[in-house]
C-alpha cells in the first residue's frame, strides 16, 4: 500500500489557541480511517487543511504527492463536506446534487438518486429549511456519490436517527467494497463507527494520541477485575491507564496484550478479565495524556 496523504509537523495556530500542534501522520490508500477525538480536538481543522480549505501556520501537507492548495489535479480527487457546510442561498437539495455532479469526475448519479430515496431527502425543499438530519443526509449523499479517491466525512451522523445512521454505515461499506477508496471518518462516537475502521487516528487537543491499526488496538488493553490486593499484585510493573475501586474490588485497565502465561496467572489468582472497548480505551488514554500534560493554568482552590 502507498500513502495518499503525508502530513509533516503540521501546526495551526489561531490568535489564542493552537488547533494543531506539530502533527505528523500519513494515510494509506484504499482504507477506512477513523479520525477520532472530542469536539474541538482539531479534527475539522486537520481535514480543512488537507483539502486546502484552510491554511497551515507551519508544516507540510502532501496529497497524492503534491501540495493541495489551488491545485485542481489534487483537489478534484478529494471531497470534504463539512459538518456545518453552507450552501448557496435558495438552493434546494436537488440543486446541490446537480452542482456536485459538475466537479467530481467519478460521480455516480444512480447512487445519488438511490441514496436520496433511502434517506427520504426532500430534494425540492430549500436547504435552509431542512432539519439537521436532512442536512447531514445532503452531505452524506454528496460524499458517497462523489466516489472521490479521498473522501472525508465530518461527524456525518449529526441529527440522523438510528435507522439513517445504520443506513449510512451500510451503504458506505457496500460502496467501499465495490469501489475501494480512502475514507476518513471523523467522529466522537467511537464505538458506533469502530467496526468500520481499519485504522484510527486519535487526536486530542491538537496532538495525535494514537495512530494504530484498529484490531491491534482492540487487543491492546484489558481490564483486570478482582480483589484489590490480587489486582495490585498482578498489575505491578505493567502500564496501568485507569483504576477504579468499589469496596475491596479493584478494576485496573492495563495496556499490552495478555500472554497465555498471564492468563494462567489470572486464573490462579481468581481474577477476571473484561474487554475494553475502543471508546473506553481512547477516553482513558486521553485522560492520561491530560494528566501528564503540563498544566497551562493553575487551578485556584
Amino acid at each position: 500500500m502507498s500513502s495518499v496523504i503525508e502530513v509533516q509537523n503540521l501546526t495551526k495556530r489561531y490568535r489564542e489557541t493552537t488547533a494543531l500542534d506539530d502533527v505528523s501522520f500519513s494515510i494509506e490508500q484504499d482504507a477506512i480511517y477513523g479520525l477520532l477525538g472530542r469536539n474541538g480536538a482539531g479534527k475539522t481543522t486537520a481535514m480543512s487543511i488537507l483539502t486546502a480549505q484552510n491554511f497551515a501556520t507551519s508544516g507540510q501537507v502532501r496529497v497524492f504527492g503534491q501540495a493541495p492548495f489551488e491545485n485542481p489535479a489534487v483537489l478534484s480527487r478529494m471531497c470534504f463536506v463539512r459538518e456545518s457546510q453552507k450552501y448557496p442561498d435558495d438552493a434546494t437539495g436537488r440543486h446541490a446534487l446537480r452542482m456536485a455532479r459538475l466537479f467530481f469526475p467519478r460521480w455516480d448519479e444512480d447512487l445519488a438518486q438511490d441514496l436520496v430515496e433511502e434517506f427520504e431527502l426532500p430534494v425540492k425543499r430549500r436547504i435552509k429549511k431542512l432539519s439537521r438530519g436532512q442536512l447531514s443526509a445532503v452531505g452524506v449523499i454528496i460524499g458517497l456519490a462523489s466516489r472521490a479517491e479521498v473522501t472525508f466525512f465530518d461527524e456525518p451522523y449529526l441529527g440522523l436517527d438510528a435507522v439513517a445512521r445504520q443506513l449510512f454505515y451500510d451503504r458506505l461499506l457496500q460502496d467501499y467494497a465495490a469501489h475501494p477508496r480512502t475514507v476518513v471518518l471523523s467522529s466522537h462516537l467511537i464505538d458506533e463507527v469502530a467496526p468500520l475502521l481499519e485504522r484510527v487516528l486519535v487526536i486530542d487537543r491538537g496532538r495525535i494520541l494514537l495512530d494504530e491499526d484498529t484490531d491491534a488496538l482492540r487487543g491492546r488493553a484489558s481490564a483486570v477485575v478482582g480483589s484489590s490486593a490480587a489486582v495490585e499484585d498482578f498489575v505491578a510493573g505493567r502500564e496501568v491507564i485507569h483504576t477504579e475501586r468499589l469496596g475491596r474490588v479493584t478494576s485496573a485497565t492495563v495496556l499490552g496484550g495478555l500472554s497465555e502465561q498471564d492468563r494462567q496467572r489470572l486464573r490462579e489468582a481468581d481474577l477476571d478479565v473484561a474487554p475494553v472497548s475502543l471508546q473506553q480505551l481512547v477516553v482513558r488514554l486521553a485522560r492520561r495524556a491530560e494528566d501528564s500534560a503540563p498544566k497551562h493554568q493553575e487551578l485556584v482552590p
Binding site: 482504507a31 477506512i32 445504520q166 454505515y169 451500510d170 461499506l173 457496500q174 467501499y176 467494497a177 465495490a178 464505538d191 469502530a194 467496526p195 468500520l196 475502521l197 481499519e198 484498529t214 484490531d215 491491534a216 482492540r218 487487543g219 484489558s222 494462567q264 486464573r267 490462579e268 473484561a274 474487554p275 475494553v276 472497548s277 475502543l278 471508546q279
Partner: protein
C-alpha cells in the same frame, strides 16, 4: 461483534464454529469477504484478515476466481484443536481448583462420571 476483542479473530471463530457444528461442510463455498463485511457491518479489510488467518491455518483454501472453500479434513483438524483448547480452558482450571480442595485426579474423574450419569438422566 463484541467490542474489546480483535474483530478479525471473532470472524475466524465464527466461521470455525460453522464448520464444527456442520452448517458449513467441507468443500463448500465459505462466505466471501464482502458478504462477511456486509453481514457483520465491519470493514472488508478486517473480514479479509479473519479469512486469511483461516487460509494460513489450512481451514479454508482459495479457488482462483471462484472464492473461498472449506478444506478437506478441516473439521477433523478443528475438532482436534478444540479438544486441546478444551483441556487448557476447562480441565486445567478444574484441576487447579480440585488441588485446592485436596482432590486427586481420580476423585475428579469419579465426580465427572457421577455428574454425567445424573445429567444424562434429566431430559433436556
Amino acid at each position: 461483534m463484541e467490542e474489546g476483542r480483535p474483530i478479525f479473530v471473532q470472524i475466524a471463530e465464527s466461521i470455525e464454529a460453522s464448520i464444527v457444528d456442520g452448517s458449513l461442510s467441507e468443500e463448500e463455498r465459505a462466505p466471501s469477504i464482502n458478504e462477511l463485511a456486509a453481514f457483520h457491518r465491519i470493514n472488508p479489510a478486517t473480514a479479509a484478515k479473519g479469512v486469511n488467518q483461516l487460509v494460513d491455518d489450512g481451514v479454508l483454501y482459495k479457488r482462483r476466481g471462484v472464492g473461498m472453500f472449506v478444506a478437506d479434513g478441516a473439521r477433523a483438524r478443528l475438532l482436534a484443536r478444540r479438544t486441546q483448547d478444551f483441556a487448557a480452558a476447562y480441565v486445567d482450571p478444574l484441576l487447579t481448583e480440585a488441588r485446592r480442595l485436596g482432590l486427586g485426579p481420580q476423585d475428579v474423574a469419579d465426580i465427572i462420571a457421577e455428574r454425567s450419569a445424573t445429567t444424562r438422566k434429566e431430559p433436556s
